[in-house]
């Protein structure tokens, strides 16, 4: 663009364009590239002649006049399944919101019964809820009182998924490794003083160090995985660079602490 945008404004524009691209997926007879070109041309013309970098607030004003990303998709171009959902989510119509929660509650019943159908229903509830959030965004509406009905199915999937991502594969690996005696080479033998305490320390150290290494790996992969993470957690929260820093610091601290305990245990200098 000929007008220069500040970093924040550029990120805002990228997000707007990304939302439009997402909405255009599956839209028949629409050239997404052409739509993006129209958006850029419009914004560029609007900001023509600007000499100083355009701030996020200024860009926000332009985007507000342009309307929500959904406005760029003609209703006739929207896939039939999306039109059907939209009919369940009009103004004061709560049917889609009830359907979201109902699907998830049904999933919970199947889970209690030990059936794998629960996973399908949780997934369906999640996707329906995400569609409801998108529809609300497109229309510039707030979820309002529907929030609890729509966000619960998302939380039911996102929170366990985040837990699994954070726990990572290294914690179970460390646990299995401990149980199987893979770490015998560390020279940690059952001490005469307090075997139970020594074993607990070893277990905590292995799991802590494993978790720390995993978090360091996640922090390193952050830039690659950020978009996927944003997709998963939206609209519960938006992963930011600060979260990556926390992960990095916590990972380094855990790794260091775990390694230090292991080193002490290996040397047999820990009195437990």
């Amino acid at each position: 663009m000929s007008a220069t945008l500040t970093l924040e404004a550029q990120q805002r524009l990228d997000r707007y364009l990304q939302e439009v691209r997402l909405l255009l997926q599956g839209a028949s007879g629409v050239d997404a590239g052409e739509v993006e070109r129209d958006i850029r041309e419009h914004i560029e013309t609007e900001l023509e002649g600007r000499t100083s970098p355009v701030s996020r607030e200024e860009l926000e004003n332009v985007l507000r006049r342009l309307g929500s990303p959904g406005g760029w998709v003609d209703e006739s171009e929207v896939p039939p399944w999306r039109r059907a959902l939209a009919r369940l989510y009009l103004g004061e119509d709560w049917r889609l919101a009830y359907l979201c929660l109902g699907t998830t509650v049904a999933g919970a019943f199947f889970m209690l019964a030990g059936s794998a159908i629960a996973l399908v229903l949780f997934g369906a509830g999640f996707l329906l809820a995400r569609a409801a959030v998108s529809l609300a965004d497109e229309r510039g509406e707030k979820l309002g009182a529907r929030r609890i009905l729509v966000l619960t199915p998302i939380a039911v999937v996102v929170l366990p998924a985040l837990l699994v991502i954070l726990a990572g594969p290294l914690v179970p690996v460390a646990q299995v490794g401990y149980d199987e005696g893979w770490f015998g080479s560390l020279g940690v033998g059952p001490p005469a003083v307090d075997e139970a305490g020594r074993e607990a320390s070893l277990r905590v150290a292995l799991i802590g160090a494993g978790l720390g290494v995993w978090w360091l790996a996640l922090a390193a992969l952050w830039s690659v995985a950020q978009r996927a993470l944003e997709w998963l957690t939206r609209p519960l929260f938006l992963p930011r660079r600060a979260h990556r820093s926390w992960l990095l610091v916590a990972g380094a601290a855990l790794t260091a602490a775990g390694a230090a305990i292991l080193a002490f245990l290996a040397e047999g200098r820990v009195a437990l």
Binding site: I39, E41, H42, T45, R65, G71, W72, E77
Partner: protein, 115 residues
């Protein structure tokens, strides 16, 4: 609710008239998208989200009512110009006639004439 009803009615009315307005704006001239949007925005009572005009222009293009050409601009970004085709002109004539008839009929109702 009455206010929702009124708001929806107004929105539908504006949406329905948008194509007629765009085709009329292009009747005597070729214009680029931004210019069309601004001209529409200046019309009283036709308050629209600017972003809704472009999908409509693309639809008119697919219907072969308008053609587009991209031209470099000396003092800004390259611009996509829209122009009516012969089919677009015929469509506009038909729509203007239909609109005139409709307005006449509604006005007749408003004035109490039923015949």
């Amino acid at each position: 609710m009455e206010s929702d009803f009124a708001a929806n009615w107004t929105t539908q009315l504006r949406k329905g008239l948008l194509e007629l307005c765009v085709l009329n704006i292009l009747r005597d001239r070729r214009l680029y998208g931004y210019d069309i949007v601004k001209r529409l925005g200046s019309l009283d009572g036709l308050m629209i989200s600017e972003g809704t005009v472009y999908p409509l222009l693309n639809r008119l293009k697919r219907e072969n009512f308008v053609t587009t050409t991209i031209e470099e601009s000396p003092d800004g970004p390259a611009r996509k110009y829209y122009e009516l085709t012969a089919a677009g002109r015929r469509q506009l004539e038909w729509m203007n006639a239909a609109w005139t008839a409709l307005v006449g009929a509604v006005r007749g109702l408003q004035e109490g004439s039923t015949s």
